[in-house]
Amino acid sequence: MSAQRDLPQQQSRATEARLLELRAEAATFGKVQAVGTRIPGAPFPVASPETGYYGVPLLKQPQWSWEIPLYFFVGGAAASAAVIAAVANWTGDDERLRRDGRLVAAAGSAISSVLLISDLGKHERFLNMLRVFKPQSPMSMGAWVLAVFGSMSGAVATAELLEQRFGWRIMRVLGNVVEPLSVAAALPFSNYTGVLIGATVVPVWNHNVRSLPVHFGMSGLNSGVGVLELAGHAGSTPLNTLGIGAAAWETWEGIEVELFRDPVVNEPLRHGVSGWVTRAGGLFSGPVPLGLRLASLFAPRPVARKLRKIAAVSSIVGSLCTRYGWMAAGKSSAKDWRLPLQRKKAPRKINRQQSIEQFPRKEGIVDDRERHAV
């Protein structure tokens, strides 16, 4: 740009002759016409339609701490485990998977509640979440869904344990009766977090509101499958099928973000710390487990189990990175003053003739003497 070329010129202008010129002008007219120079890049913040209010962020950054992304992760894994356990139960014979899935779901929903409450500013008021039922608030819906899922999955797991410990057949029946309720809550709970952050004013979140619930749901399935595999189900064929599906979706999601989505709004997903964390999340939950799982289909059994365990660890790490990455991206996006100040619709009928546009700033040094001489 011309700024650097112009700089010596500006310095050369402030010569002794220039100072005498100023002195003469002041003496003749009682004041000087020039108002000084403005150098681009100099530390003079400007308020203008192009720079907003000195670039001060319009939006407030999300104030959620480390608990919330972890809550997204644990909740997603727990809900997926609940669904897997229920379907394993309904379709028949994998009793160990049913039991472990139910236990993972109950433990996960309990941990979820603790994480959610620990982020509240007033922990002791967590029950206030249940004093209203607001369909227009995803946070309210989430609280209700978590309450139902937590209690129902807890009941199912308790029944499971009582049956195992004491051999009470009635508990088997009770568990099977309550399980559909647990699943009914687990299904929205597995992905509502995408709606939760999608339906906000944060540009990078609401821009992706269509894909976020599916993305988070699949991320949850990925980690749920991973947890169950590490809990001793690395030989289960249905789990591998589900893992392949989830990893394939996460791979596609990553490709879409990288190649097809608006690069300006999605800048925090592709640049900076938040970008690298989301990318790492995409890699570890998409292509890496997908390749390992597909390879495990053709490998001999002991090798296949090993491959799937690596895939499971990768999926869990990837899901965690995804949640933390999206949270960091939201914080970074809220700091960007440009997007919320965009004009989306046609200008209203207000006269937008602005003095700032009538007198456009030149690139490089603006010598106001030249301007006023015209």
Binding site: G194, W337, N351
Partner: protein
């Protein structure tokens, strides 16, 4: 008492910050501390949990030397007192999961401090970046529209302290009319860029804090098209339902397939 509003006229504001101080003293808000931002004379930055009125110093490079702020030709320096907009359709109110945020009898939006549990969801639901969780108290805080004073038929502290009547307070319909009259008057005096900002044609459907400003609203950090985030709900929940269906169907498919 009727439905009330603020009309903040930046062409009358002298940047004295009496409203900021009055608000802090009346509502017993903590000081912002001694920070230097380098952004004109504004060392506060923005409204937040501890600042419910905030005077913006919108500074331009001078176009004509020696001509003051309200000349028809130029507006080198404008002061504008910012505040919670008290939207007709308020994102924070819609998002609040505890019902702590309510609409008052005066039309304002109020966070009940004894109900809020500090979930911080309103923070990401406000298209104007106003409400914020106070890290010390743990609850969300913003302008209360001086509901305590209004119930005693007193104007809000900021409006009362304003020495130039830049902050006007009164019935919303009267103030809307007064705002339009004032804009026409400014235009007739040559300030063609004067406008009334009340976000009426956007998804917030108007505000209870209106502003008379000169030039583009974006340089005041006033969004031209604020969007209430409930607008994204339909798309979001549809996706959520699709994802839930896919999860259940996928699980059934995977387990049934393994049986054969």
């Amino acid at each position: 008492m009727s439905v009330t509003a603020f009309l903040t006229d930046s062409t009358l504001c002298i940047g004295c910050k009496a409203c900021e101080v009055a608000c802090k003293e009346w509502n017993q808000l903590e000081a912002d501390g001694l920070n230097f931002t380098g952004l004109s004379y504004d060392n506060t930055g923005a409204v937040g949990y501890g600042t419910w009125r905030h005077v913006k110093f919108v500074e331009h490079t001078s176009t004509f030397p020696g001509i003051g702020g309200n000349s028809p030709e130029a507006e080198p320096w404008v002061f504008s007192s910012d505040v919670c907009k008290h939207c007709e359709v308020a994102g924070c109110l819609e998002a609040c999961p505890t019902g702590a945020i309510v609409r008052t009898e005066f039309g304002g939006v109020f966070v009940q401090p004894d109900v809020c549990n500090g979930c911080a969801y309103c923070v990401v639901a406000c298209p104007f970046g106003v409400v914020q969780r106070n890290p010390k108290q743990g609850i969300a805080a913003k302008c209360t529209f001086c509901i305590d004073r209004q119930r005693e038929d007193l104007p809000p502290a900021c409006a009362k302290a304003c020495p130039t009547e830049s902050i006007k307070f009164g019935d919303i319909n009267e103030l809307k009319l007064a705002g339009q009259v004032r804009v026409e008057e400014l235009k007739s005096r040559g300030m063609k860029d004067a406008q009334l900002y009340d976000a009426a044609n956007t998804s917030v459907e108007g505000t209870h804090a209106m502003f008379i400003i000169r030039g583009d609203e974006r340089q005041y950090n006033l969004p031209p098209d604020p969007v209430v985030p409930t607008e994204y709900l339909k798309v979001g929940w549809t996706s959520s339902a699709v994802a839930a269906g896919a999860l259940l169907a996928g699980a059934i498919f995977a387990f049934m397939g393994a049986h054969r």
